[in-house]
């Protein structure tokens, strides 16, 4: 049973079709890349998977435990609760909040205490808040951000902001993690570090990862499978080595950015 299966996914804005008839399958534990030239509709796919956009047609199914849930049309927060989490291409941290708060907010759905407890700080508040802090700190430790937990996230250097966004995404306790250009703007050293980190968290957290990335070294190194998107259509699917030699893919990239691998 695949974790995620997307069938005939289409999204059009007015006359423009951003994604058309895309089919995608992710198996549990896979690390899959989604590549394609700029404007191909990769981020739109992420937005559709996370409910930020409502699909025009098609279906998205996610297996949750032993059930398969149709998630197209659900609100983003419901989808997150079912186990999909993501980062953003143009980092969307809660900039004026501390690093710790950023992670704690993402843990919101696991907090069970009610409003009354929060108003009057009943024992359940203290109990759960402590747990939240503990979890958040251990997560930050993994991303080497624990020493900066009280800093405002806007003050972090770029690379750390990227890492924090991944940490925040993990805090929602996802089964499927969508990473939107996690290495954008990083230098080769940082990228290499990040590559290892992604690989590590996948195993540690038992994740399935779908990754948008322009940095082909990263993609080729860690992705087990790739989907190639062009003009909103999936033009190729396969192992990295296969994709590298796929004619249509090379054509799609020509005049744009030849994959340097």
């Amino acid at each position: 049973m695949p974790l995620l299966s997307v069938k005939n996914l289409t999204k059009s804005f007015g006359g423009l079709t951003a994604v058309s008839n895309a089919n995608l399958t992710l198996n549990k534990g896979e690390l899959v890349g989604l590549i394609g030239p700029n404007g191909a509709g990769k981020t739109t796919v992420f937005n559709l998977l996370t409910g930020v956009y409502v699909p025009s047609s098609g279906s998205i199914e996610l297996s949750v435990g032993d059930n398969v849930r149709k998630i197209n049309g659900l609100k983003p927060y419901n989808i997150t609760r079912l186990g999909i989490s993501r980062t953003f291409q143009n980092i969307r941290l809660f900039k004026d909040l501390t690093v710790l708060d950023n992670v704690r907010i993402a843990m919101h759905q696991n907090v069970k205490y009610g409003l009354i407890s929060s108003f009057f700080r009943l024992p359940s508040y203290y109990r759960e808040e402590q747990e939240v802090i503990k979890k958040a700190e251990s997560l930050l430790e993994i991303f080497k951000l624990d020493t900066k937990k009280n800093e405002l996230s806007r003050n972090l250097p770029y690379g750390e902001q990227r890492r924090l966004e991944i940490a925040r995404a993990l805090a929602t306790n996802p089964s499927l993690l969508l990473l939107d250009e996690p290495a954008a703007g990083m230098n080769p050293n940082e990228t290499a570090e990040l590559t290892d980190l992604i690989d590590w968290i996948r195993k540690e957290f038992n994740l399935t990862i779908l990754l948008i990335e322009h940095d082909m070294s990263l993609v080729m190194k860690i992705c087990e499978r790739l989907y190639v998107l062009d003009y909103g259509m999936i033009i190729a699917e396969g192992k990295p080595e296969e994709i590298k030699t796929n004619k249509r893919v090379i054509e799609a990239y020509l005049g744009e950015e030849v994959p340097h691998a």
Binding site: T50, G51, V52, K75, P76, Y77, T80, R81, S85, R86, F88, R92, L93, F94, K95, D96, L97, D101, R104, I105, A106, M107, H108, Q109, V111, Y113, L115, S117, S118, F119, F120, R121, P123, Y125, Y126, E128, E129, Q130, V132, R168, A169, A171, T172, N187
Partner: protein, 318 residues
């Protein structure tokens, strides 16, 4: 349980009790006579209003220009109850019903309007408050334009302090809980917040409802302190007054709202001595304060830029 009695909590509680004690002492020694007590009442009511609006506008980032509308619901409900039910409990019943009705209205109005953003939300909430005002102006049982008068004065310093401290504590606790953080995340980035599993509509409405609830309490206290209410009191300018306190104190700062409430009340008592040009001075102060604040802030930003330059210098250019 241990944390409940933590040093920090104890310290805060001690401060609150001490503040109450000091003012109570000053009142019983008649150093704070009737006149100062009225000023204190105004301050307390403004603190409740400002802190509750801050929850909506400052923490949740929903720009509301209709807070006076919620206040009026609490004021009218409490006034009508205390005027018509002659019992020792009518004051509490009035406050309770006023706050609940106000919260209910916040819920009913919040659901459709909170889909709007920024200035559009502001103008919609402004319209909402105006509609409430016009309805109150034309209903028989609210006394029409004359409003209600001879409302028994139940509110006294003790209740004012109790409700003000209560409002501040409850809202502060809320902000520092997971629910409050959910609200703040909406202000920071609504889309990211939703993707992080937060039902943004629910939390926007919740902030609106809680804010309305406390505005209702403030209205109820107002009506049972100042004897008289009428629709004209709860117009656009009242909403603006509350917003001014929130902005001067700082969006998203409860401490700021409290300090600004006190400062503005003191400024207002000083301005009473300049009856002819009172409003001219007030408006000038308002403009100058806003400009000065921005001036100081940009200076700070400049300092930050220097720091970044320094940072780049010491860490080498990337």
């Amino acid at each position: 349980m241990k944390q409940l009695f933590s040093f920090k909590n104890l310290k805060y509680s001690a401060c609150v009790v001490a503040l109450f004690g000091v003012i109570q002492l000053l009142i019983s020694l008649n150093i704070f006579d009737d006149y100062y007590q009225i000023t204190i009442a105004t301050i307390c009511i403004n603190i409740i209003l400002a802190v509750s609006l801050n929850l909506i506008a400052g923490f949740t980032g929903q720009f509301s220009l209709g807070h006076a509308g919620f206040m009026s619901i609490g004021a009218y409900a409490c006034a009508l109850i205390t005027l018509n039910i002659n019992s020792n409990y009518s004051f509490f019943l009035g406050i309770f019903v006023g706050a609940i009705l106000s919260a209910l209205l916040g819920f009913v109005i919040g659901i459709p309007t909170l889909r709007l953003k920024g200035d559009y939300l502001a103008i919609a909430t402004l319209g909402m408050a105006e509609i409430i005002k016009i309805i109150a102006q034309n209903l028989e049982f609210t006394g029409g334009a004359a409003g209600l008068s001879d409302i028994p004065q139940y509110t006294n310093w003790v209740w004012l302090f109790f409700f003000t401290a209560g409002t501040v504590v409850v809202i502060k606790n809320f902000i520092n809980s997971s629910h409050g953080r959910a609200c703040v995340s909406i202000r920071e980035d609504e889309i990211a917040s939703e993707v992080m599993g937060i039902n943004t509509t629910k939390y926007k409405v919740l902030a609106f409802v809680i804010g309305a609830f406390f505005a209702g309490i403030a209205g109820a206290l107002y009506s049972t302190y100042f004897y008289v209410i009428n629709p004209g009191l709860f117009g656009f300018l009242k909403s603006v007054d509350i917003l001014v306190i929130v902005v001067i104190g700082g969006m998203g700062s409860i401490r700021g709202s409290i300090i600004a409430s006190i400062l503005l009340a003191i400024v207002s008592t000083y301005l009473q001595d300049f009856p002819e040009i009172r409003m001219i001075l007030y408006s000038l102060i308002l403009v100058v304060v806003m400009l000065a604040r921005e001036f100081i802030k940009t200076k700070k930003i400049n300092l930050d830029i220097l720091n970044i330059k320094k940072y780049i210098k010491t860490n080498g250019a990337r």
